[in-house]
Subunit: 505 residues, 2 copies
């Protein structure tokens, strides 16, 4: 240690306003004595210290004086925050010694199973941004597909739970709900939460914003109320109302997940084990005792075959059991979008219609939500097996779910109406026939091109479902957008993708 | 394609002087309309175009106005060069569509063997920097250890050959030499090249600079002559003198290698297949017909057991055969450093002493070089099996190797004397006894702490070998440095590492 201290160097912080997300960056001039004497070069991992704090950052070498003066070094904003540093503060630099967690990653790369301690070291270093994106990528690649055995999935789940915050409750009777995703418009969460909370159970639901979809539950709920709640607010609202519908990002449950997901997206690689750990760690950290998991199966859903769904269901249950979480997977039809709206505000309207028991409320959304709520009621032993659905439907039809939803929204900061899109365009059937398929992925892409989720009123309002007979010229769906440009961009996409709704004679 | 064009956006280039090496970076303000409307976010891969060129870059989001003005975007310097762009030029942006090569990488990640076309796509995209470091990391991880079968190693080798330049010769009789490395001071190359060229054969040797060692052959040769030669210069010098001793970096043989190595270093993961492909692709691209490969084996060398060495030798031969390259592996003793000097100038002195047949020239260096040259003479059928060594020794002892070395240096730009270190310190034995081990890795680390290779005169001058008897206080080695600070830094390291030369009674 003495030696490393002797060999540190110092420069003054220049803030550059750079957001590098997963990985801290340090910007140093090639001609600075620190770079030259230490042999620092691009991609090197460097320990950067102020008097009281330190971070690990990847070096970006800067030539010339465009952005850094003599004796200046730049840091990405995340590093500035973590160091609690201010412009002009003295920074010192030293080579990062090899990390124990990378020895673990290498063991996994070479095909060895890891133990609990190894996963703990890896996840801790990921959360603290001690691993670079390159290193996280190696970890994810080594865990890709089915390369984690059941024990390893449990270890990973536990280490992800321990790496973040946890919610605390006065009771153990905490319930939760999750959907594996990939099905546009499948916005059952607000309905399930309202029914369950109305039944007297506790369901502290945190949801994500859209990652690759046109709307996450948090995006949809944000068109109706505030979703950015602190841990204390969530705990208070759930104690009082039985449920909440909050954005999960602010509460840092299982924070490794965000970092892993960003790298997974860059690779477009799924790891079943990592996905299971990600889902269950968030539920466990939220304090849940039991969780119902919707697994939609369809050709263009995330899970494509019954075989995959059953395998996933089994592994979710076993992992849940190992960490003390009662998991009930529900395999559902993922052949087409759910409800009519796709996009934050359009989905919110479907949800409101179901909650208000409106005559034209989408039946499929209502059925799915009631079924999932029924499973939770049975898990909570509120009723006998097979009776949950009926009780859930009763709570919905009585209006008490709608009352509960309003109370939750008011507790979160008030209930407002969803926004309306200014720019709309009807898309008509190009021939007579019957709707035989709807491509979830391309429908989602289309809604995103129209502006969802950044433009909350943007998206798609479907007028047809699989099995419907249509005549040429009849409306298939409406495109909604918040700008003319986005509307026409989405419309252009349709030129080559007319078959995203397949019509056959 | 029409759509993508419709959705592009433009900003003006601001140069930031940033060197991001393996991966182009584009810096955009979070508040720019392009980021907002396209939903660009950190780590996204973006196609950046000027009127005539385009590159793929990873997005770094910038907040505030510290480094970018309204309507400005920054690019790393590599991207500026590739786009041939100038400050203020208009840049347009669009999302990168998914790359075919990443589908191949994913197939490999999921355990499938890849074919020639897949490796060609991957290596082309790596060389063109279309893959991010995150993606290259996934590729390397998927190929780590022994995950490439023999066919795949051949495919990878071929695609690496095809991705770069090739040297062209008037004859097929081109020879080459390689060392797997990890053995400090094992600087046989200049001696082998001089003997082989003096024998009338052609040996266009390109060498790397140090990656993790205290000296590469190019660093060592640079203390004696110019090594930065163009392809045309190499071809002319080898045509005239039979050999050269050039730095490989300028000639872009197998350029994927540099990119892969930088990511491998960040992971500290070896892939045997990738290493074989890297070595053989460079030799094949240099036009070699036959190559002798030195594989030093020792506890602290790169290859640690005879079993590993034999396996590697077999795979080198099979891969060579498949690409039409005659490979002769020579497994050698890697238990201790070779020669006396470690560091560019100190190794150069050893090489000169051997070439000049000086009485005190290091015997081990001479023996190793003569053996390797002998194998090449036999491969070239200049002599019968078993006679090569004697002929090589004759060429060395006659002085014609030294004459040839001088002529090559003069052709490369002139022969100069190696620099001398101003700061030196003797390290003495701490007890009586016999030298029983020398740790190659820690000796290399010590030489690097003393400043090698950046400080060319820095390094270590060994006074002992394994088996020598020493008395307490007797000189073990000298530390050489070009600054007082580096000398004392290296000396400090010794405090905890006295046993890097083990003395036992």
């Amino acid at each position: 240690m003495k030696i490393e201290a002797a060999k540190t160097h110092s420069l003054r912080l220049k803030r550059l306003g750079i957001d590098s997300r997963n990985e801290h960056l340090v910007f140093m001039r090639r001609d600075c004595p620190e770079c030259k004497s230490e042999g620092f070069e691009a991609l090197n991992r460097i320990r950067v210290s102020t008097e009281n704090n330190e971070v690990v950052a990847s070096l970006v070498v800067v030539d010339g004086i465009n952005i850094l003066g003599q004796n200046e070094a730049g840091l990405s904003e995340g590093a500035v925050t973590k160091l609690q540093a201010r412009e002009g503060d003295v920074l010192t630099f030293s080579h990062l010694k090899s990390l124990d967690s990378m020895s673990d990653v290498r063991r996994k790369v070479f095909g060895n199973a890891l133990d609990q301690d190894a996963f703990t070291r890896i996840i801790e270093d990921i959360v603290n941004l001690n691993l670079s994106n390159i290193q996280v990528s190696a970890f994810l690649t080594a865990c890709a597909g089915d390369r984690l055995n059941l024990d390893e999935i449990v270890y990973l789940t536990r280490s992800m739970i321990d790496s973040g915050q946890r919610l605390h409750w006065k009771t153990d009777e905490i319930y939760d709900k999750h959907c594996i995703g990939g099905l546009p418009g499948n916005r059952t969460t607000p309905i399930v939460v309202s029914i369950i909370a109305a039944s007297g159970l506790k369901i502290p639901k945190t949801s994500s914003r859209a990652i690759t979809s046109p709307a996450g539950t948090a995006d949809m709920m944000e068109t109706l109320t505030n979703v950015d709640l602190s841990v204390a607010q969530i705990e208070k609202i759930v104690d009082e109302e039985g449920g909440c519908l909050a954005w999960g990002g602010a509460v840092q449950l299982s924070p490794a997940d965000d970092i892993l997901i960003r790298v997974e997206r860059a690779l477009d690689i799924d790891s079943e084990g990592q996905m299971i750990a990600s889902v269950l760690s968030k539920k466990a950290a939220a304090g849940a005792k039991a969780v119902v998991i919707d697994i939609p199966v369809g050709k263009s859903a995330k899970v494509r075959s019954m075989k995959d769904a059953e395998r996933l269901a089994t592994r979710l249950c076993s992992t849940g059991e190992s960490i003390g979480l009662f998991v009930e997977p529900v395999i559902t039809d993922g052949s087409q979008p759910v409800g009519r709206g796709i996009g934050p505000a359009l989905e919110a309207k479907d949800v409101l219609a179901v909650l208000k028991n409106e005559a034209n409320a989408p039946r499929d959304l209502r059925d799915r939500a009631v079924s999932l709520a029924g499973v939770l009621l049975e898990m909570a032993e509120k009723t006998k097996k097979g009776m949950g659905r009926g009780i859930a439907l009763g709570i919905l039809e009585s209006g008490s779910a709608w009352e509960k939803f309003k109370r939750i929204c008011i507790a979160q900061g008030g209930l407002k109406g969803p926004p309306e899109a200014e720019f709309r365009r009807e898309i008509a059937a190009y021939k007579d026939g019957k709707i035989t398929a709807i491509d979830n992925r391309r429908i989602a892409r289309l809604a995103k091109l129209a502006g969802a989720p950044a433009a909350p009123a943007a998206g798609i309002l479907l007028n047809v479902s699989i099995g419907d007979a249509v005549r040429s010229g009849e409306k298939l769906f409406e495109l909604h957008a918040m700008s003319e440009g986005e509307l026409s961009y989405a419309f252009d996409y349709l030129a080559d993708n007319r078959d995203l709704i397949r019509i056959e004679r």
